[in-house]
Amino acid sequence: MRFRLKSMRTVCLGLAAIVIAACSSSSSSTPGNNTSAAPASGGSLTVLEWSGFAGDWPAGLDPATNTNGAADQSQMDAIYGELFELGPRGVIIPDLATGYAFSNGGKTITIDIRQGVKFTDGTPFNAAAVVWNIKRDLASSCTCKPVWLVKSVTATSPSTVQVNLLVPDGAFINQIFDSTADWIASPAAVQKMGEKAFALKPVGAGPFVVVSDTPSSVLVLKKNPGYWQKGRPYLDSLTFKAVGGDEAAYEALLAGNGQVYEDMSTPALLKQAAQHFNVENQLSTSPYDLQLNTLTPPFSNVKARQAIYAATNFAPILQHIFSNLYPMTEGFTGPGGICYQPTVPGYPSYNLALAKSLVRQLGGLTVNLGTIQNLVAQYTTEALQTEWQQAGIKVTISSYPLASLIAQFTGKKWQAMVQTAGSYDPAAGVGVGFRFSSLSPFSGVHDPHLDGLLNQAAATVDQSQRCQFYNQAAQYIAQKYYGPFYFAFAPANIAVRGVTGPGLSQPLPAVVVTPTILWEDVSYNKAAS
């Protein structure tokens, strides 16, 4: 399988986070906090995470067994650090790796490993440990495992790892971000403690060390005194707490029970929060899309799909439900990611008269429109229902809890779904293939030509060439009426004043729905709050 398909759970939850996050454009009125003054060391932060997404880690935090995968990226990065980090404006920051090179036409990737680093249990961090981890990730039964078609992974020296693939993969490094292969666990600790105990008290080489862990509830971390980067992390301790939702988190911040909340998305609350806190809007990478199932009626008929394009007007929805916080887009890329192309040549526009006549030609059109059980997603489907009814389309709407949503997709009887597609790199994370490749169970499209375009794009190392393939793919999707796109969405991070760092006072692009805060660079100056 060419496209990286994350565990369904992560993806669907990801959608929920995305969907919820719906509003924050003008509210980023306080981004000027990245002052040039040196950040103060010390202090503690309590970070709130939504219990439906990032605040959910029932299986613990071992990269090979954590079924929630990238949803828990913040906790994972604080404990393990990363091989590579995705920094502001898409800069690749070498963290525990120091560099990489493609060779053999994109089939071989050589990664340089940082030397002189130790895991927090005192054992050495080296190429052998990285190879051991990647092999373990690939062999794990978790669907969060990397899906590269790997021929071999070897340590060619104590500081170099070589990955040989069966097929070229130009997106390899972009696919590492926030994947299980980016987080390196201490092999000695896993073997000594056993997998289950390790998952509850993991050992890495990251900026923080685990003090205590109640899964899906509270994770207490303290500064790693032997962290490889001198002077970091700034914080003495970091606590993650699960919280019920945006409103509860906002109230908790007001009551002083936390300093940071990740991934706020309720439009009305973002405006409210900006009055008291720093609201950092992230760069959108994953547009909303409306998936149509081309395998079953009514959308096996191209006219029905065309009618949906003609009957859908996203502008008022964006304005009233999402407060115009996000840019409209006609493809699967966003301004925070690569290959961004907001307009697609030949994209069918809103045309109520055309929609009505198409519905008449079809002799009526009845649609069941679904989405995940989430308030903003539900509002979106309600608004679409009203719009489509004006074109004479009969619409029923359903909002499914996660398990039922999966059942809808595996049952292949679904008709239309409000989802998100795209990623920082369309070939990575919940990328375009997730919603549009024949191989993906979450795709409504089964078109060999589109598969070919997407495969060619992923295999190409040269970025401008890749983007050309993606632009062609976006054009082809519009031409075949495979599914309209609304706007490129991203949630916002909220922090009390005085907290600075990438992702909190500086926007970051997101790989899987939400960006990863670089915790080693985060500081909290209480005096400034």
Partner: protein, 342 residues
């Protein structure tokens, strides 16, 4: 219960005789035997209900992009492919040995998860019950001192409000007033008792109030009605009055003491029925208790965890009912307890 002057003469000896005497023991024995089919029924019903849900834990764990072979592999690993009866038999056999199985989504033993989370829920419920009983007793005595007086009317109005307000409406109001506006208590989170006892009590106050206020309302009304009735009707009170015992002494020592039994009965009955309140209130306050994971476990088809929680609450309910029935039988001579309590 001590045999003080004025308390139903001979009550203590009667109680003792009844407790040791054959009918009470017989009732207790029969009730204990009856607990087994009830526990069995509850766990079996839960098993059936969870099995009727679409999708299973293997599919849920692996995601839909897993191949059927992978799903099948995991089903074998988790014993999900075995027939219903075998799975239930295995689970029930484990239960009898004190083994509740392993969480399907987290991979940890259910006893470990419950061990971590049950103390939080237990403390929360205990706090809610103790506080509601204490306040109810105070207010009911105040109200019953002068029936239809101003104190009575206010306390009845307060308790009527408590009966009519939904916990999910009350909780945000409490958070707004006491966490955000005055900042006395935290809006979310739990501080363990061992870490900081004061913060521990503070962190549980608002959730305990959300669960306890409706209970407090029920208790207050019951207790007040009981005391008023006792004061008006019971012969020994009339006797005590005639003997010139001061009114407050009659109220506290006699009427309240004898009215408390009804309250105990009710508290026992209520204890186990709060699984729903806990499941709603714990997530609102981000408490790491069992209620917080109940709904998620159902969504994940994590049967062992759901069963573990259901069993705990069923045991509590059954035990509390049993205790209440026995207390009632022991305390009220007007009942033909052999029939009534079976």
């Amino acid at each position: 219960m001590t045999a003080e002057a004025g308390v139903r003469p001979g009550a203590r000896t009667q109680f003792a005789r009844r407790a040791v005497g054959s009918p009470g023991v017989r009732v207790a024995g029969r009730r204990l035997l009856a607990v087994i089919p009830v526990l069995w029924g509850v766990t079996f019903l839960t098993f059936i209900v969870m099995n009727m849900l679409p999708g299973d834990a293997a599919q849920e764990l692996l995601g839909a992009n897993a191949t059927p072979a992978e799903v099948h592999q995991l089903e074998i690993q988790l014993h999900l492919n075995e027939p219903f009866w075998v799975r239930y038999g295995n689970w029930f056999g484990g239960l009898l040995k004190g083994d509740l199985g392993t969480s399907l989504s987290g991979g940890q033993p259910v006893t470990t998860i419950l061990g971590q989370r049950l103390p939080v829920t237990a403390e929360l419920l205990l706090y809610a019950f103790v506080a509601s009983v204490v306040f109810a007793v105070g207010l009911a005595v105040l109200a019953a001192r002068r029936p239809n007086g101003i104190g009575d009317r206010i306390s009845m109005a307060v308790s009527m409000m408590g009966l009519s307000i939904a916990p999910y409406v009350l909780a945000p109001v409490l958070v707004y007033l006491f966490a955000i506006k005055v900042g006395w208590f935290p809006a979310i989170g739990y501080t363990p008792l061992t870490q900081n006892p004061v913060e521990n009590i503070k962190s549980l106050t608002l959730p305990a109030a959300s669960i306890g206020f409706p209970l407090f309302a029920v208790y207050t009304r019951l207790l007040r009605a009981d005391i008023v009735e006792q004061m008006q009707r019971e012969d020994y009170i009339v006797t005590a009055r005639a003997k010139g015992v001061p009114p407050w002494r009659i109220l506290i020592r006699h009427a309240l003491r004898n009215s408390l039994f009804g309250l105990i009965t009710l508290v026992g009955l209520n204890f186990g029925t709060l699984i729903g309140a806990v499941a709603i209130i714990e997530p609102i306050f981000s408490l790491p208790g069992v209620g917080a994971i109940l709904i998620e476990s159902i969504n994940n088809r994590d049967l062992p965890v759901v069963e573990g929680i259901v069993v705990i609450f069923a045991v509590i309910t059954v035990a509390a009912n049993l205790l209440a029935d026995l207390l009632y039988v022991a305390l009220d001579p007007r009942i033909r307890y052999e029939r009534a309590a079976v």
